[in-house]
């Protein structure tokens, strides 16, 4: 009986560490994305940018492995049966955000968009908002496991930042289409801005579900 008890606690402890590491990966991906796009804006497709892209891909790969491991352990060790489906969905949602960071950065690598310097500050600002939004989503999600009363506080920050990204991307696209750039460049830039902004939308969707999971978790 004691053997069962010890294995029950150690299994939970291992999974606890893995879930924490997974949340770390979301923050790592957000920071690396910020670094990658800022490097692209200042240096173009430089060696540094390629290095950051590679690092981002590695984070995404590690996160995928962690996600599979978490899903596997939740089922094989029969942990939190009543909330298992919610936790799996939450982890999937977080993983989607990590994937988008990697995909958008890679899109910059592939498409090599020409971005006039006058837009650099506003794009940096937009990327900063998206990064912060994803970070707050990760903190909200982490709180779901430990301190679910603060999930709402961080979710509110996500909602605020998502709204800010909407405004920033709207103004940015407006000024791009007001410029003398060729239409092809305008459309390319506009699409990339949408892609960046969509990451905040994904974070918002994730937080929406998280709040429902929190209501379900509350006794």
């Amino acid at each position: 009986m004691f053997g069962i008890k010890i294995s029950l606690f150690s299994g939970a402890k291992t999974l606890e560490t893995k879930i924490d590491s997974f949340h770390d990966k979301v923050i790592d991906a957000a920071m690396m994305f910020n670094k990658s796009i800022t490097t692209y804006l200042t240096e173009g497709r430089s060696e540094n940018f390629k290095k950051h892209n590679k690092q981002l891909r590695q984070i995404e790969h590690d996160a995928d492995q962690l996600r599979r491991d978490i899903e596997n352990r939740l089922y094989t060790q029969n942990l939190i049966p009543d909330l298992r489906a919610d936790v799996l969905e939450l982890v999937e949602n977080l993983d989607k955000v990590i994937n988008r960071f990697d995909e958008v950065s890679y899109q910059f690598y592939i498409e090599r968009p020409e971005i006039p310097e006058i837009y650099h500050v506003r794009i940096t600002e937009l990327v900063g908002q998206v990064t912060e939004c994803a970070e707050n989503m990760s903190i909200a999600s982490r709180s779901f496991f430990r301190n679910f009363s603060s999930v709402r506080d961080f979710s509110q920050k996500v909602y605020f930042l998502e709204h800010e990204t909407d405004l920033s991307s709207g103004h940015l696209k407006e000024s791009i289409f007001d410029s003398d750039m060729p239409l092809a460049n305008k459309i390319q830039l506009s699409t990339l801005i949408d892609e960046i902004e969509n990451i905040a939308d994904l974070a918002e969707d994730c937080v929406d579900e998280l709040l429902i999971f929190t209501i379900k978790r509350d006794i």
Binding site: L8, F9, N78, L79, I80, P81, D82, L83, F145, I219
Partner: protein, 349 residues
Amino acid sequence: MDLLFLFFLSSGLFLGWSLGANDAANIFGTAVGSKMLRFKTAAVVSCLFIIIGAVFAGGGTSATLNELGSVNALAGAFMVALSAALTVYWMVSSGLLVSTSQAIVGGIIGWNLYSGYETDIGILSTIVSSWILCPLLSGGIAVIVYLIIKNILHFSHIHLLRQDSYLRCGLLIIAAFGGYALGANNIANVMGVFVDSSPFQSIYIDGWYFSKTQILFLLGALAICIGIFTYSQKTIKTVGNNLMSMTPTIAWIIVFSQSLVLFLFASQSLKELLMEHGLPSLPLVPVSSSQAVIGAIIGIGLAKGGRNISWSTIGKIIIGWIATPLISAALCFISLFFLENVFQQKVYM
């Protein structure tokens, strides 16, 4: 032990079997239904403690039933238990909430009326007041425990997965405590009426003394265990989820409150301790575990702001309170007449 005794005892054993089949859902239904515990683990632990509770602590409630009506003929005891069992069966199939305790009390009153023995109104009013007190007490305990646990979870910041591990241990402990309380409190319903007519002899096993009543209670506890193993899994799947579709933490609180109430109404040593210190004590009366569970559910519902309270369930409880003892008493009275006059059995001394 002759075959006739076994035949007459069968109604009590049947009552025990149905108690195990129905009431196990109250102890570990949600834990098994939500896959927090395996059925076999929960059932084995509960059964072990039901036997311990029944054999070592079942005397108190049984003595109270005996004070209400000392059924002194085996055929009479058979009919009291059978009337209770049939009432329970009929009420369950009619979708009404039923208590084995109320059915057996009704049966005993029916026997008293038929045999001409006087029913002790003082004891009867103690028993009836305990039926009202049981869900109220369970509800009160549930509210207090709910608020304590809610605050602990709010301020302790224990990881969800660790909470899950603690909860599993808690559910296993509560399956043991719930089993003990059920055995101690409800064995009187199953075997109480046979105490006076039991043909068993007291025995010594390895220096342990077992009275004839304890042997009788052991048989009753085994019948409850058979009910758990043969039928309760079905009950948990069908009825259990309707009654308790809730989180495992809430389920733990409900089972804890229910078990504590059953324990309070069954523990002789606690009663003596309270009386020694001049504190008010609870009577040792068999009470309904289902009604204790519903009291706890309503208590938590009120603590949460009165949402999701099924007032129709409360209506069913009240109907059950009134109807169960009346039907059982009437059925017992009529059946005793037939048993004595048609089958020529001695139903009272």
